[in-house]
Every structure is written in structure tokens, then in C-alpha cells.
């Protein structure tokens, strides 16, 4: 019976043609892969494959150029918004986006991000917030939650010693240059679809010249959190979402 169903004319969903056949180096269950797929689908649907420029971060997504078949520039740690500024100013007709993690965007690249947003550069920023530095072994990042255990705060984040977790998307919403800021997640199929819509809107804003769009994606780093992928999603729903509330923060 299954042989009748499995035929090219009955195909309803498969990975985008822009996702290369290379097997991703991410840990099993990593949300980066899901977000890569959604970005590729949006670019494919917009027909922008030949007109897209991506600024890659430093972090686990450093090899993004191996997985999405668009032109990419590998930026120094945190400097993706600065590179994207140059790319968009030199090529205003191209779709320019950056892909950054929380360590890249809100720690070392906070200055570049703030000023790119303040200048209202017409770029889209995809911001993966998983509350730790995933690539280097799960160290504390600015968005680590209070009491959350990481390799550099093994007894949990202490507010007196380490400061408060930063909601950088809300900070950026205060700036005049930003036009669309939303916080989404990828823990269920419905959330993945919503994230895809948000990415599409951010890319369209970038092409329409409305200002900087930021799509924050609250994601799980199951390897860094020392959990199974499914447990990490449940933990994220229970602990991350009350603090990082999902939904649009700014839309104009």
C-alpha cells in the first residue's frame, strides 16, 4: 500500500532545494538545522537564491555556508551586522540577512548590533537565543536565565555576581531604526510554521527598505543543556518562555 503513496505526484513536503545535501555537523536535535531549513524555504519561495547575501556568525552556525546554497560572508565574532551594513549599502537590491546566536549578537557583537539597528540598516537579523555559548562548551551568555547551570556558572547564574539575563530584543525595540521585532520558537511544528512566516516578513521588510528587522528564535541547545532533544524542548517551554515571552514585540 505504501508503495502506491510514495510517488513523485503525491509528494507534499521535502527539504528545500537550497538546503545542500551535506550532512549538518550539528548535534542530533539541534534547532539550528530547523531554522536553516526555514530560511532556505523562504528564500526559495521568494525566488531570491541568486540575490541573497548572508553574513555568518561565529558559533555553531559558523558553517552555515556549507548548508544553505546562497552567497555568504564569514564574519569575525559579532561583526555580522557591520558586514551586512556594507553589503546592503553596496548592493541595495540584494536581500541581506545575518544569522547570529546569543553570544555573537548580545555579547561580543552588542555594539555592532545596537548601532546597525540604530542606523536603521535595511537588513534582517535572525537571532538564535539558546541561553548559552553552544560551540565552546556551554558557557554562560548574557541571556542565560537566573539559576541556570552552565559550565562557567556550575552553581547556577547568580544575579549579584553575573548580572541579569538580557532581553536584547526588547532593548532593540526601543531604537527608532528597527521596524519589526518578534520572538518565536521552533519547539513544535506549528511554532516552526510561525517562525517561517516571521522570517518571510523580516526578509520582505528588508527588501522594502523599512528598517532593521529582528527575528529572535528561542531555541534549545540540548547538548549544552545536557538533556535529550525532547526534554530540552520541554525545559524550554517551562523555563525559557515565561521569561522570553513569544510574540511580536514591535511591528510597524
Amino acid at each position: 500500500m505504501n508503495d502506491n503513496i510514495i510517488a513523485p505526484e503525491n509528494l507534499v513536503y521535502q527539504k528545500s532545494a537550497l538546503v545542500k545535501d551535506n550532512v549538518m555537523h550539528y548535534c542530533p536535535g539541534c534547532n539550528h538545522g530547523t531554522v536553516h531549513r526555514m530560511i532556505a524555504e523562504v528564500i526559495e519561495e521568494m525566488g531570491m537564491q541568486d540575490n541573497t547575501l548572508c553574513a555568518c556568525p561565529v558559533g555553531c552556525a559558523v558553517f552555515l555556508y556549507k548548508y544553505i546554497d546562497v552567497d555568504t560572508v564569514e564574519c569575525a565574532h559579532g561583526r555580522a551586522p557591520a558586514i551586512a551594513t556594507a553589503m546592503k549599502r553596496l548592493h541595495p537590491d540584494k536581500l541581506v540577512f545575518t544569522y547570529q546566536g546569543d553570544g555573537d549578537l548580545s555579547a561580543i557583537g552588542a555594539g555592532e548590533t545596537l548601532h546597525a539597528c540604530n542606523r536603521g540598516e535595511n537588513i534582517a537579523i535572525i537571532f538564535i537565543n539558546n541561553a548559552i555559548y553552544g560551540m565552546t562548551g556551554g558557557q554562560m551568555s548574557p541571556s542565560t536565565l537566573e539559576g541556570m547551570k552552565t559550565s562557567t556558572c556550575p552553581y547556577g547564574r547568580d544575579l549579584k555576581l553575573n548580572g541579569y539575563p538580557m532581553k536584547i530584543a526588547n532593548v532593540l525595540a526601543e531604537l527608532e531604526g528597527t521596524c519589526y521585532i518578534t520572538r518565536q520558537s521552533v519547539h513544535t511544528a506549528a511554532a516552526v510554521r510561525k517562525t517561517k512566516k516571521a522570517i518571510r516578513k523580516a526578509f520582505e521588510n528588508s527588501m522594502a527598505g523599512k528598517g532593521t528587522s529582528i527575528v529572535e528564535i528561542v531555541a534549545a541547545c540540548n547538548a549544552g543543556w545536557k538533556m535529550s532533544p525532547h526534554e530540552a524542548h520541554l525545559w524550554m517551554e517551562e523555563n525559557m518562555f515565561p521569561f522570553y515571552q513569544l510574540g511580536d514585540i514591535k511591528d510597524r
Binding site: 542530533p28 539541534c30 525532547h230
Partner: protein, 74 residues
């Protein structure tokens, strides 16, 4: 009423056995295999293929894009 039937095809050697598709499936079709692929991961397969409705939830959740979804109306 037209009955919807689905089927999924998993790219076995791309699958890392993260099990997200297994938890995402509303009809409990998928499960992880007892055998392993080239990299040593247990991979997802259709344990109860007759229950699949072709909703593509598994494929949307799959971080590695290993799942193809097919659907027919009978």
C-alpha cells in the same frame, strides 16, 4: 468522506535519531529503529504506517531535513 492517507520516507543515512519527529507525530506513526545507520545512529522509521495522515509535522520538526512526506486522498 474522502480518506487521507500519508506516508513518509526517511533518508536513513542523514537521520541522527534525535527523536523529535517521533514526539511531533500526532498519530504515533514513527519510532526509532533497533538497527543503526552508517554513522551509528538509530534512525526513524514508520512503525505503524497505516495510521499516517501525511500532516508533515515530522518533516517540519526534523532539524536535518531527512523526511519526505507523501499524501493521497482515497
Amino acid at each position: 468522506m474522502a480518506k487521507v492517507k500519508g506516508a513518509v520516507e526517511v533518508d536513513v543515512n542523514r537521520c541522527k535519531g534525535c527523536e523529535l519527529c517521533v514526539f511531533a507525530c500526532p498519530s504515533k506513526v514513527l519510532a526509532l529503529s533497533q538497527s543503526v545507520n552508517d554513522k551509528g545512529y538509530a534512525y526513524a522509521y514508520m512503525k505503524q504506517p497505516e495510521l499516517c495522515i501525511g500532516c508533515a509535522s515530522c518533516a517540519y520538526m526534523c532539524p536535518d531535513g531527512c523526511i519526505k512526506v507523501y499524501k493521497i486522498k482515497q
